[in-house]
Amino acid sequence: MSPVPAGSLLAAQDLRKAYGPTTALDGADFSIHPGEVVAVMGPSGSGKSTLLHCLAGIVTPDSGSILYNGRELTAMSDSERSALRRSDFGFVFQFGQLVPELTCVENVALPLRLNGTRRKEAERAALTWLERLEVDDVRKKRPGEVSGGQGQRVAVARALVTGPRVLFADEPTGALDSLNGERVMELLTDAARSTNAAVVLVTHEARVAAYSDREIVVRDGRSRDMERVV
């Protein structure tokens, strides 16, 4: 266990989590500064997704501490964590994340509306983000009618529309070809840097991880911060 680096926005120490007999996390540490892009790498089944879920307050670890902005995540109630996710966090997943019945612009507006923003206003903000991610032409279409790359950009727009301080991306390009994947990564990291958001990027692809500032490796539920080793 290492001490929490000064000035970190989100930091976790000695996280442990088991699903039944399977140990997913076995003493993992993590920290990220505002505006930083950190890749979480490791073989599949190593616990990187679980680490992301714990950091985002989706899953409560069995033990360990997660400090976000000075607040202890593990001590918060479910609804407090939900509220935090709505206001401070954004999410991009590999697939299956857009609501198929809603149009793209409605999908992007959804997090704002969950926060209580009025429909008109939310959709206006959503449209700005769609433009920024170069997919405003599909705003009226449903997710089933757009390409994978477009859909993923819509998802990125949705993750960023609330102006999150931390963006969690779990294999965001997993379902895309390299060209589309790179474009999504470029847009994602550019957008995150411009808003000074931290990005926790879970990936097993080196070319995706190359968009990060540094990486940590998760193996057998334990993490290694490569920067501090070297």
Partner: protein
């Protein structure tokens, strides 16, 4: 393609039907239960005509009156028999008093030997009633020792209350009106029975109403294919089975469910057949042995049901392309058109319309038109609902996030949503119509007496050999009696009754107080004679009421025997009286007299009637009056002027109907739950994602609720509308005043809504479980 291909593919599908894991099993079993209910209902339908025929045959076989005017002479093969029918708390009790007049006297069906005097044989239902605490009052009325039971042959229903009691001295009282002499039981001229058309209508409607939702359910169950089946079919295509063969395999899956359903249905029918014995509808019950469908009809059911299941599947797969890499549902279906959907219910009404106003006397209803019309109206619900849901959700505006999620989903798949609630809507529509019909007809069956029951509610004829005064005081002292109005009645003719008079007039004798119940008069003293004006059907009084005219009193002896003439002369002084409605609700005509105006022999020849007002505050007051009468003379049977148990009897029917409709709804609810869970599982990843970015669980649960509540709301609205229309048409057909039974509309809609609510509630725990982040795991 050969029959072998078919057989092979169907068999393979059959195997798949039960190989789909727990969900596959549940779906197969639900389909089987649905088909089973359908089969059972069809078999019962096929058995009902037989049952009614059998009932009629038995009823005719035990008739104990002669149609000829002539009463046969007493002989060693004759039997004196008297009707002792009574009523107990609104239920009819068939009673007969018998005295064999010789060793060869005929035995009634179902009775092995004549009960000795003072003993009786009873139907099982009566025995049970008498032995229960409920029957104590009736027991007092039937002071005979029970020595045996009447066999099924002698009864027309499992619930019939009947007894045969032995008596002495009955043969002396044979009069051809209440006491008969017969040498054989059974109608000398048996005729095929004509079922009460309204009853037939009820049976038909009940069956269609219960059957249609089951059919709709089966159709939906077959179509709720689910991802799993799609994947299976696609996999079959991938390994080289062609499109037609894949369809046959899918049909085989449906066939498996319906074959199992056939077995279940036979079981249900056998259970239902026994259960039928415990049901009494409008005083009609049947024995299980009556319920035998004709073999041909049974065979038709056995073949038609599985065939229909296969046909529905093939029909449902019409819009589906099964490709090796997945199942493609025909892209975006064309916008639903209204006209042919409206045509269905309109055609239904059109088929029923010609029969409007026929009523009970208007002859028989055309069974096919009734069935077809009701069916079309109900099916119309399933045709209209998808259109309405589509049209309404397309116009639904913005709201909260939960509302938006639900509405958008409905807009994208309104057909699925409508299909899910179709069964519920049809069941509710049918049940509402049936409730209206039942309550209307039930009211009709018991309320048309027209008696003014505020003054007197019962009438008893004073038995022979009992004095009027004695009888009056006996009843006045009886428990439950408030007032007794004794009136003596007879008829006066203008010539001897041995020859046959040409003109007649009514004669009513009573004290002044009692006479004032039947006519308005300025003054009255004992000895007065009044001529009444304003009576119904009274044409001869003016001609007969001439002072000095000799009038002949109708003798009370039985027809065909000679009796000495009793003559009364119209007195010089005739007072005027104006008829008013008497306690029985009719206006009497003829003459009113006080006792002092008559000679004793004339008084003796009159029939003495007691009009009795019971004390409504005494429970079972009527039963006490019955008992007092029976105590006075078993043959003196009081008439009830109103069935007080009407609502109680209706309640039991209503309960039965609710149970039936609820059972159908629960079945539909179960299938709703299965498909709901299936849909949720397909969206598992999406739900987890929504939770990840902070969607409140409440929002998602609410959206699931909206998603079912909106179509079910529309469905129930349409169901109430169609149900009330159908109910109104049916009531018009039976010539009954149309009265909307809002209570049952509300109750049935409530049950329908309740089923959906329960389904949603039951799907919430799995929903909450699915919203856990496990769904986010990428494997």
């Amino acid at each position: 393609m050969s029959a072998r291909d078919w057989a092979r593919d169907l068999a393979m599908g059959t195997r798949f039907a039960f190989a789909g894991g727990r969900e596959g099993w549940i779906r197969a079993v639900l389909t089987a239960v649905g088909v089973g209910l359908g089969v059972a209902l069809l078999l019962i339908t096929a058995a009902v005509p037989n049952a009614l025929d059998e009932r009629h045959r038995r009823e005719q076989a035990r008739q104990n009156f002669t149609y000829g005017q002539q009463v046969p002479e007493k002989a060693d093969d004759t039997l004196a028999i008297a009707d002792l029918d009574t009523e107990f708390r609104g239920r009819d009790v068939r009673g007969r008093l018998m005295e064999p007049e010789g060793p060869k006297a005929p035995l009634p069906p179902g009775v092995d030997e004549f009960p000795a005097a003072g003993t009786m044989v009873v139907s099982p239902a009566l025995k049970e009633l008498l032995e229960s605490g409920e029957g104590t009052l009736l027991r007092e009325r039937l002071p005979y020792e029970i020595t045996g039971t009447i066999g099924e042959q002698g009864l027309i229903g499992s619930h019939e209350l009947a007894y045969y009691a032995g008596a002495e001295g009955l043969s002396d009282r044979v009069d051809g009106s209440r006491v008969w002499r017969i040498d054989t039981f059974g109608s000398p001229d048996p005729r095929p029975g004509s079922t009460d058309p309204v009853l037939l209508l009820l049976v038909l409607v009940v069956i269609v109403v219960l059957l249609t939702p089951v059919a709709v359910f089966i159709a939906a169950a077959v179509r709720f294919g689910g991802e799993q089946r799609d994947r299976r079919l696609a996999a079959l295509r991938l390994v080289g089975s062609d499109g037609a063969s894949t369809r046959r395999i899918a049909a085989g899956e449906a066939l498996a469910g319906s074959l199992l359903g056939l077995v279940l249905g036979t079981g249900f029918f056998l259970i239902g057949r026994e259960a039928v014995a415990s049901v009494e509808l409008f005083g009609i019950s049947v024995f299980p042995s009556y319920m035998n469908p004709s073999p041909l009809l049974a065979l038709t059911v056995a073949v038609a049901v599985p065939a229909a299941a296969v046909a529905v599947t093939l029909l449902a797969l019409r819009g589906v392309v099964i490709e090796p890499l997945g199942v493609v549902r025909a892209a975006r279906p064309a916008r639903r058109r209204l006209w042919w959907r409206l045509l269905l219910p309109l055609a239904g009404v059109a088929m029923l319309y010609p029969m409007i106003g026929q009523g009970r006397e208007g002859g028989e209803f055309n069974e096919y038109l009734v069935t077809g019309g009701v069916l079309l109206l109900l099916i119309g619900v399933t045709a209209l609902l998808p259109w309405i849901v589509e049209a309404v959700v397309a116009r639904l505006g913005s709201g909260g996030v939960a509302w938006q999620l639900a509405v958008r989903r409905l807009q994208l798949s309104s057909g699925t949503a409508a299909r899910m609630v179709n069964g519920v809507a049809v069941a509710v529509a049918g049940a509402i119509a049936l409730q209206m019909l039942f309550s209307g007809v039930e009211g009709d069956y018991t309320q048309s007496t027209g008696y003014d029951v505020t003054r007197a509610q019962m009438q008893v004829r004073v038995p022979q050999g009992v004095g009027l005064a004695e009888a009056t005081s006996t009843f006045e002292n009886s428990k439950g009696v408030r007032t007794v109005y004794p009136l003596s009645e007879g008829y006066l003719g203008d010539a001897s009754w041995n020859k046959g008079p040409e003109r007649t007039a009514e004669l009513t004798v009573g004290d002044c107080a009692t006479l004032r119940e039947v006519a308005r008069m300025s003054s009255c003293r004992d000895g007065d004679v009044f001529r009444v004006s304003g009576g119904e059907y009274d044409t001869d009084t003016p001609a007969l009421s001439k002072p000095g005219r000799k009038l002949y009193l109708e003798p009370s002896a039985m027809p065909g025997t000679k009796a000495p003439d009793l003559v009364w002369t119209v007195p010089a002084e005739l007072k005027q009286a104006e008829s008013v409605e008497d306690p029985t609700g009719t206006r009497r005509g003829g003459f009113l007299m006080t006792p002092g105006a008559l000679t004793d022999d004339v008084t003796k020849a009159l029939r003495h009637e007691l009009y009795i007002a019971v004390d409504p505050s005494v429970p079972d007051a009527r039963e006490y009056v019955h008992n007092t009468a029976a105590d006075l003379d078993p043959l003196a049977e009081p008439m009830n002027w109103q069935a007080t148990e009407r609502s109680e009897r209706f309640d039991s029917i209503r309960t039965g109907l609710f149970v039936g409709a609820t059972a159908v709804l629960v079945l539909i609810g179960a299938s709703l739950l299965v498909s709901q869970l299936e849909q949720l599982r397909e969206r598992r990843k999406l739900l987890s994602t929504l939770v990840a970015f902070g969607t409140r669980r409440r929002t998602l649960s609410l959206s699931v609720l909206w998603q079912t509540a909106v179509p079910i709301g529309l469905g129930l609205l349409l169901a109430s509308l169609v149900g009330m229309t159908l109910g109104a048409v049916l009531l018009r057909m039976t010539n009954t005043a149309v009265r909307i039974d809002w209570a049952s509309v509300a109750t049935m809609s409530g049950i329908g809504a309740g089923v959906v609510l329960v389904v949603t509630l039951l799907s919430l725990p799995p929903l909450l479980r699915m919203m856990r982040p496990d769904g986010l795991r990428t494997e």
